[in-house]
Protein backbone atom coordinates (compact mmCIF):
# COMPACT_ATOMS: atom_id res chain seq x y z
CA UNK A 1 0.00 0.00 0.00
CA UNK A 2 1.09 3.51 -0.68
CA UNK A 3 1.95 5.24 2.59
CA UNK A 4 3.82 8.10 4.10
CA UNK A 5 4.52 8.28 7.81
CA UNK A 6 5.21 11.35 9.89
CA UNK A 7 6.09 9.97 13.32
CA UNK A 8 5.84 13.26 15.19
CA UNK A 9 2.55 15.08 15.61
CA UNK A 10 4.30 18.09 17.12
CA UNK A 11 7.81 19.53 16.93
CA UNK A 12 8.92 22.45 19.05
CA UNK A 13 12.14 24.31 18.35
CA UNK A 14 13.66 27.54 19.59
CA UNK A 15 14.04 30.38 17.12
CA UNK A 16 17.48 30.29 15.51
CA UNK A 17 17.98 26.59 16.14
CA UNK A 18 18.02 24.01 13.36
CA UNK A 19 14.82 22.13 12.76
CA UNK A 20 13.99 18.70 11.42
CA UNK A 21 10.58 17.33 10.52
CA UNK A 22 10.65 13.61 9.86
CA UNK A 23 9.05 11.59 7.07
CA UNK A 24 9.38 7.99 6.00
CA UNK A 25 7.72 6.34 3.04
CA UNK A 26 6.74 2.92 1.82
CA UNK A 27 8.92 1.59 -0.95
CA UNK A 28 7.41 1.27 -4.43
CA UNK A 29 9.71 1.78 -7.38
CA UNK A 30 11.28 5.20 -7.60
CA UNK A 31 9.18 7.49 -5.41
CA UNK A 32 8.46 11.12 -6.03
CA UNK A 33 8.43 12.83 -2.62
CA UNK A 34 7.18 16.24 -1.57
CA UNK A 35 6.79 18.60 1.31
CA UNK A 36 3.86 20.96 1.63
CA UNK A 37 3.19 23.57 4.32
CA UNK A 38 -0.17 24.74 5.61
CA UNK A 39 -0.53 28.01 7.47
CA UNK A 40 -3.66 28.59 9.60
CA UNK A 41 -6.83 28.90 7.53
CA UNK A 42 -4.85 28.61 4.32
CA UNK A 43 -4.47 25.98 1.65
CA UNK A 44 -1.40 23.83 1.30
CA UNK A 45 1.64 25.38 -0.31
CA UNK A 46 4.33 23.47 -2.16
CA UNK A 47 7.77 23.64 -0.51
CA UNK A 48 9.99 21.22 -2.40
CA UNK A 49 10.15 17.91 -4.19
CA UNK A 50 12.49 15.04 -4.92
CA UNK A 51 12.18 13.39 -8.31
CA UNK A 52 15.66 12.15 -9.07
CA UNK A 53 19.27 13.24 -8.85
CA UNK A 54 20.93 14.95 -5.89
CA UNK A 55 19.69 13.56 -2.59
CA UNK A 56 19.64 17.02 -1.01
CA UNK A 57 16.81 19.11 -2.35
CA UNK A 58 16.47 22.81 -1.71
CA UNK A 59 13.11 24.51 -1.62
CA UNK A 60 11.24 27.62 -0.63
CA UNK A 61 11.87 29.77 2.47
CA UNK A 62 15.28 28.21 3.14
CA UNK A 63 13.97 24.69 3.62
CA UNK A 64 15.74 21.63 2.33
CA UNK A 65 15.12 17.90 2.48
CA UNK A 66 17.35 14.89 2.28
CA UNK A 67 16.31 11.80 0.39
CA UNK A 68 17.75 8.66 2.01
CA UNK A 69 16.95 5.56 0.02
CA UNK A 70 18.42 3.07 2.49
CA UNK A 71 16.34 4.49 5.35
CA UNK A 72 13.34 5.29 3.12
CA UNK A 73 13.26 8.74 4.64
CA UNK A 74 12.77 12.27 3.37
CA UNK A 75 13.27 14.55 6.36
CA UNK A 76 12.64 18.28 6.09
CA UNK A 77 15.32 20.53 7.49
CA UNK A 78 16.19 24.16 8.01
CA UNK A 79 19.45 25.45 9.51
CA UNK A 80 17.87 28.28 11.50
CA UNK A 81 14.20 28.32 12.42
CA UNK A 82 12.04 31.45 12.28
CA UNK A 83 8.89 32.12 14.28
CA UNK A 84 7.13 32.54 10.94
CA UNK A 85 7.95 28.90 10.11
CA UNK A 86 5.33 27.80 12.64
CA UNK A 87 2.78 25.85 10.62
CA UNK A 88 1.56 22.38 9.73
CA UNK A 89 3.88 20.40 7.47
CA UNK A 90 2.85 17.52 5.27
CA UNK A 91 5.04 14.98 3.56
CA UNK A 92 3.56 13.43 0.42
CA UNK A 93 4.33 10.79 -2.14
CA UNK A 94 2.96 10.26 -5.60
CA UNK A 95 0.77 7.29 -6.31
CA UNK A 96 -0.49 6.32 -9.73
CA UNK A 97 -2.18 9.61 -10.40
CA UNK A 98 -2.15 11.75 -7.32
CA UNK A 99 -0.53 12.49 -4.00
CA UNK A 100 -0.73 10.51 -0.77
CA UNK A 101 -0.24 12.73 2.25
CA UNK A 102 1.06 11.97 5.69
CA UNK A 103 -0.88 12.99 8.78
CA UNK A 104 1.10 16.16 9.25
CA UNK A 105 3.50 17.56 11.83
CA UNK A 106 2.78 20.79 13.63
CA UNK A 107 5.93 22.85 13.95
CA UNK A 108 6.07 25.51 16.62
CA UNK A 109 9.05 27.85 16.69
CA UNK A 110 9.43 29.43 20.10
CA UNK A 111 10.75 33.00 20.23
Amino acid sequence: AQSVAQPEDQVNVAEGNPLTVKCTYSVSGNPYLFWYVQYPNRGLQFLLKYITGDNLVKGSYGFEAEFNKSQTSFHLKKPSALVSDSALYFCAKTGANNLFFGTGTRLTVIP
Binding site: Y32, G43, Q45, A92, T94, N97, N98, T103
Partner: protein, 117 residues
Protein backbone atom coordinates in the same frame (compact mmCIF):
# COMPACT_ATOMS: atom_id res chain seq x y z
CA UNK B 1 -1.51 34.68 -11.82
CA UNK B 2 -4.74 34.05 -9.93
CA UNK B 3 -4.74 31.08 -7.59
CA UNK B 4 -7.31 28.34 -7.05
CA UNK B 5 -10.58 29.89 -5.95
CA UNK B 6 -13.01 28.11 -3.67
CA UNK B 7 -16.36 29.03 -2.17
CA UNK B 8 -17.86 29.17 0.32
CA UNK B 9 -15.05 29.37 2.86
CA UNK B 10 -17.29 28.22 5.69
CA UNK B 11 -20.55 26.32 5.82
CA UNK B 12 -22.57 25.03 8.75
CA UNK B 13 -25.44 22.64 8.10
CA UNK B 14 -27.45 20.07 9.97
CA UNK B 15 -27.10 16.38 9.25
CA UNK B 16 -29.16 15.12 6.34
CA UNK B 17 -29.03 18.52 4.66
CA UNK B 18 -27.17 19.09 1.40
CA UNK B 19 -24.24 21.33 0.56
CA UNK B 20 -22.27 22.25 -2.53
CA UNK B 21 -18.75 23.57 -2.90
CA UNK B 22 -17.35 25.32 -5.92
CA UNK B 23 -13.82 25.45 -7.26
CA UNK B 24 -12.20 27.40 -10.07
CA UNK B 25 -8.70 26.12 -10.83
CA UNK B 26 -5.75 28.05 -12.14
CA UNK B 27 -6.25 28.93 -15.78
CA UNK B 28 -4.82 26.31 -18.09
CA UNK B 29 -4.54 23.59 -15.47
CA UNK B 30 -5.96 20.41 -16.92
CA UNK B 31 -6.14 18.42 -13.70
CA UNK B 32 -8.42 19.22 -10.79
CA UNK B 33 -8.55 17.44 -7.45
CA UNK B 34 -10.91 17.45 -4.50
CA UNK B 35 -9.39 16.45 -1.17
CA UNK B 36 -11.06 15.95 2.19
CA UNK B 37 -9.03 17.00 5.23
CA UNK B 38 -10.46 15.87 8.54
CA UNK B 39 -9.05 17.56 11.62
CA UNK B 40 -5.80 15.90 12.67
CA UNK B 41 -5.41 13.98 9.42
CA UNK B 42 -3.70 14.53 6.12
CA UNK B 43 -5.70 15.38 3.03
CA UNK B 44 -7.38 12.42 1.38
CA UNK B 45 -8.19 12.40 -2.32
CA UNK B 46 -11.88 12.21 -3.11
CA UNK B 47 -11.84 12.66 -6.86
CA UNK B 48 -9.48 13.67 -9.64
CA UNK B 49 -10.49 15.10 -13.01
CA UNK B 50 -8.39 15.35 -16.14
CA UNK B 51 -10.13 18.04 -18.18
CA UNK B 52 -13.78 17.01 -17.81
CA UNK B 53 -13.16 13.27 -17.33
CA UNK B 54 -12.82 11.41 -14.04
CA UNK B 55 -9.39 9.85 -13.49
CA UNK B 56 -9.88 8.52 -9.98
CA UNK B 57 -12.96 8.51 -7.76
CA UNK B 58 -12.21 5.33 -5.88
CA UNK B 59 -12.40 7.03 -2.48
CA UNK B 60 -15.49 9.11 -3.15
CA UNK B 61 -18.49 7.91 -1.09
CA UNK B 62 -20.75 7.80 -4.09
CA UNK B 63 -23.92 7.18 -2.13
CA UNK B 64 -23.75 10.76 -0.85
CA UNK B 65 -20.96 12.60 -2.64
CA UNK B 66 -20.97 13.72 -6.25
CA UNK B 67 -18.70 15.95 -8.27
CA UNK B 68 -18.69 17.32 -11.76
CA UNK B 69 -16.47 19.35 -14.03
CA UNK B 70 -18.72 19.76 -17.02
CA UNK B 71 -16.71 22.13 -19.18
CA UNK B 72 -13.29 21.07 -17.99
CA UNK B 73 -12.76 24.25 -16.00
CA UNK B 74 -14.56 24.83 -12.72
CA UNK B 75 -15.97 22.08 -10.58
CA UNK B 76 -18.67 21.47 -8.00
CA UNK B 77 -18.59 18.97 -5.15
CA UNK B 78 -21.92 18.08 -3.58
CA UNK B 79 -22.82 16.19 -0.43
CA UNK B 80 -26.36 14.95 -0.01
CA UNK B 81 -27.34 14.00 2.64
CA UNK B 82 -24.57 15.11 4.94
CA UNK B 83 -23.46 13.10 7.95
CA UNK B 84 -21.67 14.23 11.07
CA UNK B 85 -18.45 12.56 9.90
CA UNK B 86 -18.41 14.75 6.79
CA UNK B 87 -17.25 17.66 8.93
CA UNK B 88 -13.92 18.56 7.36
CA UNK B 89 -12.13 21.02 5.16
CA UNK B 90 -12.66 20.34 1.46
CA UNK B 91 -9.62 21.34 -0.52
CA UNK B 92 -9.56 21.88 -4.22
CA UNK B 93 -6.26 21.70 -6.07
CA UNK B 94 -5.13 21.91 -9.65
CA UNK B 95 -2.05 21.01 -11.64
CA UNK B 96 -0.86 21.42 -15.20
CA UNK B 97 -0.55 17.74 -15.91
CA UNK B 98 -1.83 14.54 -14.44
CA UNK B 99 -1.05 10.88 -14.22
CA UNK B 100 2.49 10.08 -15.19
CA UNK B 101 3.00 13.66 -16.19
CA UNK B 102 2.28 14.82 -12.70
CA UNK B 103 5.43 15.72 -10.82
CA UNK B 104 3.39 16.55 -7.80
CA UNK B 105 3.25 20.29 -7.68
CA UNK B 106 -0.36 20.88 -6.85
CA UNK B 107 -1.76 24.33 -6.27
CA UNK B 108 -4.34 24.38 -3.50
CA UNK B 109 -7.20 26.69 -2.75
CA UNK B 110 -7.83 27.92 0.77
CA UNK B 111 -10.46 25.28 1.35
CA UNK B 112 -14.10 25.14 2.35
CA UNK B 113 -14.67 24.28 6.00
CA UNK B 114 -17.84 22.25 6.55
CA UNK B 115 -19.38 21.74 9.95
CA UNK B 116 -22.25 19.25 10.18
CA UNK B 117 -24.34 19.53 13.35
Amino acid sequence: EAGVAQSPRYKIIEKRQSVAFWCNPISGHATLYWYQQILGQGPKLLIQFQNNGVVDDSQLPKDRFSAERLKGVDSTLKIQPAKLEDSAVYLCASSKGGGTQNTGELFFGEGSRLTVL
